[in-house]
């Protein structure tokens, strides 16, 4: 009964919320009212946008020494999660069978384990730093903690189901993914989709004013 619900209606509902939510959010960014810039352009906005999209991957020199943990743990978590999401064999197989109809090279079992460990290490350190540092604690909202906790649960249930022998564990993982998908568009997790337009917008604005950033 519960299994049918998780594999059936809840799965379709969560996908619909995820897809519609993301499209709606991105469209609202594009279509939304913007102040028109009346100043005389000192440079082109396109190179500025492209430059900023990539330059933001490298931490600012002045800040780097103060935020070593956030940089290291941030990269560990995001790279580990990327590898898990797109190169774990069960995920690639799932995408191939249900959505795409083609597959690509996958991580070996040990690679999957290492990617999971790297992602867990980064996520736990970032979460604890958010909680322990006086400034980050002040500027963090409940949604920030919730996003981290839900992501952790999704990763954890994925690891619990690693053997792929028990349907209960697979269902637990799928259920956590469904909660994640429903929560995603309404949370700070949206940065996975908005970081590119956000950086591009800032970069274009800087580029138009002749600022190299």
């Amino acid at each position: 009964m519960i299994a049918n619900f998780i594999d059936g209606p809840l799965w379709y509902f969560s996908q619909a919320v995820f897809a519609i939510g993301i499209i709606w959010k991105i469209l609202s960014l594009i279509v939304g009212k913007k102040k028109s810039d009346l100043s005389v352009a000192r440079g082109s906005s396109v190179p500025g946008a492209i430059r900023t999209i990539f330059s933001r991957f490298i931490p600012d020199k002045g800040m780097a020494s103060h935020i070593k943990l956030q940089i290291i743990a941030g990269y560990l978590f995001h790279l580990g999660l990327f590898a898990l999401l797109f190169f774990a064999a069960p995920h690639v197989r799932f995408l191939d069978e249900n959505f795409l109809g083609f597959s690509w090279i996958t991580l070996p079992h040990w690679g999957f384990i290492v990617a999971a460990q790297v992602a867990f290490l980064g996520l736990l350190l970032l979460f604890l730093h958010r909680l322990m540092h006086q400034v980050t604690r002040l500027i963090s909202s409940t949604g920030d903690y919730l996003a981290s906790i839900i992501t952790f649960i999704v990763m954890l249930t994925g690891c619990l189901a690693l053997l792929e022998e028990f349907s209960e564990l697979r269902l637990l993982h799928r259920f956590s993914v469904e909660i994640f998908l429903i929560y995603f568009p309404f949370s700070s997790l949206m940065h996975a989709f908005t970081f590119v337009p956000s950086r591009a917008f800032t970069g274009a604005w800087f580029g138009r004013r002749g600022i190299k950033s």
Binding site: L69, F120, L131, M132, H133, A161, F166
Partner: protein, 369 residues
């Protein structure tokens, strides 16, 4: 003086309750020896006797016993030749697995269980008897900075990992005894699978947490003046004088080093179990499991004791929440560290004041020139 009076009151109450403590320990052991869970486990190990009670002797019994008892070239178990070249492929029947099973069921599980239950029971007894040790003179309202963000991050990182590893490890060790009656066989099957997989994934992260703890805490955990006195006076309980303690007392230092060394043992044996491909014999694997389990039980017991200390002594947890402690707590529990910190802070203040004065003087000179 008030603080000393309070501590002497605690000592008196402890002496009064010493007889209660002895009674409690005797009761715990008596209860455990009649515990149906461990008694049932003891019977599992002697399953051979159950077959004899049937009074029917299988004709194959003698044959297989003879096969099992053959001893070729000093190795226990019957040897033969095999096309397979893997380790142990030439052994027909390996009796070491059965011996290991007996050790696990007759020694490791019952005595490990007795040990853990006794420790938890003893700590609960102490919690009930001692109650909360209040900060003498109450909270002052002034705070002293004690731990940095990274120190707290590394501590809680270890807490999460050790907690998770302990939970999954205990489920793997005692799960058949404790979890099957609750979850049933099917329920326990997937819990055990999930525990094993996650235990293996999170295990190597414990090494990272040990390294972080070493980096951020080792400077406060070297032996220092007053440690021996602290140990001999049982943390000041048997001392009439108030002991002057530095950043950590000897008990906290022992906790740190026990955690590190037990963590190292757990990491090495855990890695041996994770990668059983490097010409390891079963004997080494079994030894690694035994050492891993014993070290884990010790570490869990130490962790429980640590939790009891934190819960019992008012104000201790503050340091791990926001890095600050109350001034009265610092004066009472770590007076030498408090004095050193205040002197250092005053010196910094004086330096800053002198610098400010000299810069304002030079500014004035500049103006007059």
């Amino acid at each position: 003086m008030d603080a000393l009076k309070r501590s002497s009151k605690t000592i008196t109450s402890l002496n009064v309750n010493l007889s209660l403590l002895v009674c409690f320990i005797v009761i715990i052991f008596a209860m455990l020896s009649f515990s149906p869970v461990f008694a049932a486990e003891g019977k599992l190990g002697n399953s051979n006797t159950a077959t004899h009670q049937l009074g029917v002797k299988s004709p194959a019994t003698d044959l297989w016993r003879a096969v099992r008892n053959r001893d070729f070239g000093g190795s226990k178990g019957m040897s033969s030749t095999s096309q397979i070249k893997s380790l142990g492929a030439n052994t027909f029947i390996n009796v070491k697995g059965q011996e290991w099973r007996k050790f696990r069921q007759n020694w490791l599980l019952p005595y490990g269980g007795y040990f853990l239950v006794s420790v938890v029971g003893f700590l609960f007894f102490l919690y009930v008897v001692i109650k909360k040790v209040k900060i003498p003179n109450g909270r002052s309202g002034k705070s002293v900075s004690r731990l940095s963000t990274m120190q707290r991050v590394s501590h809680w990182f270890m807490v999460i990992l050790i907690g998770f590893m302990a939970l999954t490890g205990l489920l793997l060790l005692f799960g058949r005894l404790v979890a099957i009656p609750v979850l049933g066989l099917d329920g326990f099957a997937f819990v055990a699978s999930a525990s094993k997989e996650s235990h293996n994934v999170f295990g190597p992260l414990v090494i990272v947490s040990l390294l972080l703890m070493l980096i951020y805490f080792i400077q406060h955990n070297w032996p220092a003046k007053g440690d021996i006195k602290w140990l001999f006076s049982l943390g000041g309980l048997l001392s009439k004088k108030h002991l002057k303690i530095g950043f950590f007392n000897a008990g906290e230092k022992l906790l740190f080093w026990f955690t590190i060394w037990l963590g190292v043992v757990l990491s090495i044996t855990g890695l041996l179990l994770l990668f059983p491909y490097y010409e390891q014999t079963e004997a080494y694997t079994q030894l690694a499991i035994a050492i891993h389990a014993i070290a884990a039980l010790l570490l869990i017991a130490i962790a429980f004791a640590h939790v009891w200390m934190v819960v019992t002594i008012e104000g201790t947890m503050d340091a791990m929440k926001d890095g600050n402690v109350d001034e009265n707590w610092a004066k009472y529990h770590h007076s030498r560290w408090y004095e050193e910190t205040t002197v250092a802070n005053k010196a910094l203040d004086v330096d800053a004041h002198v610098e400010e004065m000299s810069s304002s003087e030079s500014r004035k000179e500049g103006v007059y020139q």
